[in-house]
């Protein structure tokens, strides 16, 4: 008994050390992110702008209205995707599960295409399009959940239902996208391609509030998630209904991911791999994994966005989709961690 307590204490200590290190790196990343772009701005000017005492109005306009929105968005989206990854991987007990498995992205795309087909002018408004994407993602998720519940609501049924809904909707969305492209006279997919470049303040506020709610709820669910990871039987023995856990967690994951999809399009890798990185660092206890994943996710996406800006500037090719960079940047790091773990 003493040993177990001692073990938990040492884990806790390790968690707080890692947590503070990650918070420091996040702050650093944030400041770098504010100073890097088509115009590099020195760090002292960034601080001046943040405190509102920068004389150069245009410079502070660039920092506060373009870069800050973009940086905060990348932080909240990264964190949201990572947390929903933890939720989904826990309730499905599947290491390969990720939030997009629930049919969210293809649902969002299909609804967006449908909306543009019915009301072509909808494409002109970011607000409409993100609202539609959000509804689409949640609708697809509802379908997945209904299908899964209809066949018993087990971990496997959730995954299989997700696969069915995803393939259904992606078929529909490519078909619709093709029609829309022909009708609208212009490449539809380019218009939908997620980018952090034109994030609006209202969207940042939406991301932040959904993340806060999702994060607190996930922390509250951490013990239930730990229980379900041992199996549905064990969870029941500990007094937690596994179906309820699965329902609430997947709902939270869907909410977190839908907002991200609506604002920035599909960004892979983070939801799948960041939870694993967190587990490699701290073990499987979700009380620790969730906060660390959130921090790691935000750092990874913020760094990816910085490299997007650097690359766009250096190669003079315009904005690169950030989703492509997350994988390219994150995969080697993940491979390194994996090798280190195996060696030890």
């Amino acid at each position: 008994m003493y040993n177990l307590k001692h073990y938990f204490k040492s884990k806790k200590k390790k968690f707080f050390i890692t947590l503070s290190l990650l918070i420091i790196s996040l702050v650093f990343t944030l400041i770098i992110s504010l100073s890097v772009g088509s115009l590099s701005i020195s760090i002292d000017k960034v601080f001046l702008a943040l405190t509102g005492s920068l004389q150069d109005k245009r410079l502070s306009h660039i920092i506060l209205d373009i870069r800050l929105s973009r940086t905060l968005a990348s932080i909240f989206i990264g964190a949201s995707l990572a947390v929903s990854g933890v939720l989904i991987q826990s309730v499905t007990r599947n290491a390969l599960a990720e939030p997009f498995l629930l049919g969210l992205s293809s649902g969002a795309l299909a609804f967006m295409a449908l909306a543009v087909l019915i009301i072509p002018s909808a494409i002109l408004s970011i607000h409409y399009m993100s609202a539609i994407a959000f509804i689409g993602a949640l609708a697809a998720f509802a379908l997945t959940l209904m299908l899964s519940e209809a066949v018993g609501g087990s971990a496997t049924s959730l995954i299989l239902a997700g696969i069915a809904v995803t393939s259904g909707f992606s078929g529909i969305s490519s078909l619709l996208a093709f029609i829309v492209q022909a009708k609208l006279n212009r490449p539809f997919l380019i218009l939908l391609l997620g980018s952090l470049a034109q994030i609006l303040k209202a969207q940042v506020i939406m991301l932040a509030s959904v993340f806060t709610v999702g994060f607190i709820a996930s922390i509250a669910l951490a013990k239930r998630l730990n229980a379900i990871m041992f199996g549905d039987e064990q969870s029941l023995q500990l007094g937690y209904n596994p179906r309820t856990t699965r329902l609430i967690s997947s709902l939270l994951a869907a909410l977190l991911t839908s907002v991200s999809v609506a604002v920035a399009g599909i960004i892979g890798f983070i939801g799948l791999v960041v939870p694993h990185i967190a587990r490699l660092l701290i073990g499987n206890d979700n009380r620790f994994v969730i906060p660390l994943s959130a921090l790691l996710g935000s750092i990874v996406l913020c760094l990816s966005d910085i490299s997007v800006r650097l690359a766009s500037e250096g190669l003079a090719i315009g904005e690169i989709p950030v989703g492509a960079v997350t994988s390219a940047l994150g995969a080697p790091f993940f491979a390194y961690l994996l090798m280190a773990k195996v060696k030890s």
Binding site: I66, S125, I126, N185, R186, L200
Partner: protein, 385 residues
Amino acid sequence: MSPIKANLAIIIAALVLGLILGASLTYFAVPLKEGTTTTLTTTITLKQTPSTIIKTKTVLATTTIKPEYPITIVDALGRIVVIKEEPKRIVTLSPAITEDVFALGLGKYVVGVDSFSNYPPEVVKLKKEGRIADVGGYWQPDLEKIVELNPDLILADAGAHAKLREKFMELGLTVVYIKGGSASSLEDILSDLGLIAQIFHVEEKAEEVSKELLAQIQDVEEKLARANATKAKVLVLLGPPSWGYWSAGSGTFINYVINVAGGVNIAAKYHGWVKLSLEDIVSENPDVIIVSLMASSEEAKKVIENIMSSELASTNAVKKGNVFVLINEANDVLMRPGPRIVEASKIMAQILHSEVFGEISRNDVIKLSPTLSHNTYVGESIAIA
């Protein structure tokens, strides 16, 4: 009264009149920089003959309306935009818009253009000298650079840049959308010119440019009508065939160019930008194939070789040697919905009807030539000869 005294009296009267007019105009809060200069010029003309008084009065009236801001316009997205004062720092987000602005003589106000803008040559020169900034690619302009330039007007394309609308508004930037890439005819392009002219009160210049462009198009059409030329079936490929047979259907400005130049667009049964199937093309059997390419002449020749060795070899176009690849300027002209659409129509007319307009000889229009021929092609051409 002696005639000199009478003249003097008229001059004084005119001066007083001008002063009163000017004062009353300042009272109505009209910026009078240009207004005052015009009163000056009127007094000079007055000294010559008294009979010009009536004339100068009208001059006064029209020129003092000129700096009347704010004005309200409706742009191509149907937005109502209020222009508070005459813009002095413009950013244009597409090559066609840059060409529109320069055609209207507003080039001196341009402070930023997209990366592809390279016409008129002045733009390239000013870019090199650093007097016009590059604000990034067509699809995703660099917002930070735009803000840095502190523009008082951004001219954007209703197609490519619509999604940036809300961000521009959040940043407090004034943006006006023109039809641009969604233009379907010369009329649409002229209405774009008219919209821009409205913002700067240069409607007369826009009218002048429009008349000139319309006259040139009419000239092409009349010559074709007089020659009673038969219409050729045309396939325009956007990019090399290896990208897929992308073409421009009805409702595109390229379709308009083909029609004006006395051709029938085989893609016109589809709407908008469309990917054709090989079967579609072969069964339509185009008489002329035109490929738009952003590449060198060496690559253009390769594309022609590819077409000749592909299934397209069975089309009339390849059999008759009517395969043309447009590169550099000829390609720019065809692909940009700006005032040079007229030039594109002329090039297209020359390609389609060399019997009327003379054989085309431009080094940016590469034609299938017997030297790079293929066996079947040589056989066919001998048979035709």
